[in-house]
């Protein structure tokens, strides 16, 4: 147990060091995260202004979301995306398979998926540390959009769903990347995934806005748990009854993708041809 922990620590430490090498790229990446929220604020301000112009009440709502709710939702989605998005993970794995770099994980006594998970945790932590202060300032400035802090139980559920969203995002994308053992080129698959994720994770709009059966089907998929669900929990948009089964469903999807990533790695390496010399 102890040697494994020590190994994990060294992987984590070296990943941290590596992340800090390119300061310019890193700083730019951190700052650019804020841009989409600005466009969303302008967009929804225009939508609600149009509603008022058409004679809507003083505080119009769209599927239960006021203007303040919507802005708070996007601010929270920004946080959940910070946890669940895995830039370059799937495409990096597929590239390693295609050019043969993956061999190093096969010949060394190391678990590739575990290694990549630690690497990703390190990168995320560095990002949170750097982006923490600007984010805190942003949320302080936007505090009026929120209706205060949720109660302890809701906060606990929010943190649990946020934590699971990170792991779900990681194992889902790792599984997609490892389909490269069969497909070699996964860019199109990733494009489809990104497209679906953009709409159905709640990145573009709250999933509640999807009508009838569509909303139900999407809520049963893993995608809303990458962005919508933690934000909706924080805002109190999820009923107690729904919260329980949704948390269980999120856990079930997480376990499914952990198992799927293991299986895909196992079967994929069996058919691997060791490309690239």
């Amino acid at each position: 147990m102890f040697p494994r922990l020590a190994t994990s620590w060294v992987i984590f430490r070296i990943s941290l060091e590596e992340r800090l090498v390119y300061r310019g790229d890193f700083a730019l990446g951190a700052v650019m995260r804020f841009l989409p929220i600005v466009t969303q604020i302008f967009l929804w301000a225009a939508v609600f202004a149009a509603l008022k112009a058409q004679g809507a009440p003083q505080r119009p709502e769209i599927v239960g979301y006021t203007y303040d709710n919507i802005i708070a939702y996007y601010l929270l989605v920004m946080i959940t995306r910070m946890f669940s998005s895995m830039p370059g993970l799937a495409s990096g794995i597929a590239r390693d398979i295609r050019d043969g770099t993956i061999k190093k994980y096969l010949v060394q006594p190391i678990d590739m998926v575990g290694f990549l998970l630690l690497y990703r945790v390190a990168h995320k932590l560095v990002y949170y540390a750097v982006a923490g202060a600007p984010f805190a300032l942003l949320y302080y400035l936007c505090r009026d959009y929120f209706g205060g802090w949720p109660d302890a139980a809701t906060m606990t559920a929010f943190i649990a769903s946020l934590f699971m969203s990170f792991l779900l995002g990681f194992f889902l994308e790792a599984t997609l990347g490892m389909t490269g053992f069969w497909l070699l080129e996964v860019n199109s698959l990733l494009f489809v995934y990104m497209l679906l994720s953009f709409f159905f994770s709640g990145h573009m709009f709250p999933i509640d806005m999807l009508p009838g059966a569509w909303g139900t089907v999407v809520k049963l998929s893993p995608l809303p748990y990458l962005a919508y669900f933690p934000a909706a929990v924080f805002l109190g948009k999820v009923s107690d009854q729904e919260l329980h089964w949704a948390l269980w469903l999120q856990l079930a999807w997480l376990l499914f993708f952990i198992a799927a990533s293991r299986a895909v790695f196992r079967f994929g390496t069996r058919r691997y041809s060791g490309y690239g010399g």
Partner: protein
């Protein structure tokens, strides 16, 4: 004691046959043609502990595929292999802690960090005792003369320096078996020589088992006593370097230095005239008639100096590869 035992090992790949042109590319979306490529066709091999064995063969002969099989990177189509008692493609950690694979064309170190950071990671991954690690690292960096480069990012090292660091990373855990796939590819002659010297000294002092593939005959000549020649996925020769000359070198080269720079006519009646730069002449002569040719030349011409040599090893092997290719 046998460290590597291979029986009937075979590996076939299914390779997509893409036709030229846009229409064929669109057609390929619906129907594809595949061809089975038999990279390794049932080879048998036994390597004892402490041997330094060279794998020779033309491109696509199956050398690297064999190393990939033995290091567990890929699984075979059929056959068995055991390395130190382990089945490689099961990838047990106990096995992976006892061998190393170095590929001249692949970088295993962290690109943006100093090599020392990668070494630290290897220390943990391979569970190397800290004192042992420090001792081994210092010894290896000293032998390869890269001790002053440990804190320099890998991306800023020259190719030769990087290769030395790759070797150090591979040897930190003191592997019992080392697979080297073209470790000197792309290096200049000085770097090649340094790495050859290092490998020779390291292997002799540790008595580890090494399998080496290389296209540089100088690597083979400097390091290996035993040579395994693979062509078209089969082993066609397994023996000493000298044996290659006996078995496949059908001729010798006679070098003559003529008196007063005079080059007589019709020297080609003795054999193939390779070069004529008065007073020096080189003749290629069948091995069986070398004594007769020498006797005739010395009896009929004024010769100051004479030497009989085997043709260069590269030439013998290239001729052998050509013959194998022609025979299919």
């Amino acid at each position: 004691m046998a460290v590597i035992e291979i029986e009937g090992l075979a590996k076939a790949y299914r390779v997509y046959q893409k036709k030229e042109g846009l229409a064929a590319a669109i057609g390929g979306l619906f129907r594809r043609q595949y061809r089975m490529v038999e990279a390794v066709r049932g080879i048998d091999l036994c390597v004892d502990q402490g041997e330094f064995v060279a794998f020779l063969g033309p491109n696509g002969a199956g050398k690297t595929t064999t190393l990939k099989l033995l290091s567990g990177v890929i699984s075979p189509t059929s056959g068995t292999a055991r390395v130190m008692g382990f089945v490689p493609w099961r990838r047990e950690n106990a096995y992976r802690r006892r061998f190393a694979l170095v590929m001249g064309q692949k970088n295993q170190l962290w690109w943006d960090l100093p090599a020392n950071e990668s070494f630290r990671l290897h220390q943990q991954i391979y569970r190397i005792d800290r004192q042992q690690f420090d001792r081994t690292r210092d010894e290896l960096t000293g032998m390869l003369g890269v001790g002053n480069l440990l804190r320099q990012p890998v991306r800023e090292l020259s190719l030769g320096e990087r290769m030395k660091m790759e070797l150090i990373a591979a040897l930190l855990h003191s592997p019992d078996v080392l697979f080297l796939d073209e470790p000197t590819i792309g290096l200049d002659v000085v770097a090649q020589y340094n790495i050859q010297n290092f490998l020779k000294h390291y292997q002799q002092s540790r008595k580890i088992t090494v399998l080496l593939t290389s296209h540089y005959m100088k690597d083979i000549l400097a390091l290996c006593h035993r040579v395994v020649i693979i062509a078209l996925g089969r082993i066609i020769y397994d023996g000493s370097l000298a044996g290659i000359v006996d078995q496949f070198g059908g001729h010798k080269v006679i070098s003559l230095q003529m008196l007063n720079g005079h080059v007589p006519d019709q020297l080609d009646r003795y054999g193939e005239l390779l070069s004529s730069e008065p007073p020096h002449i080189k003749l290629r002569v069948d091995r069986g008639v070398v004594p007769d040719v020498l006797a005739n030349v010395l009896a009929n011409h004024s010769v100051v100096d004479v030497s009989v040599e085997d043709p260069p090893m590269e030439e013998i092997i290239a001729a052998m590869f050509r013959r194998i290719k022609d025979e299919g």
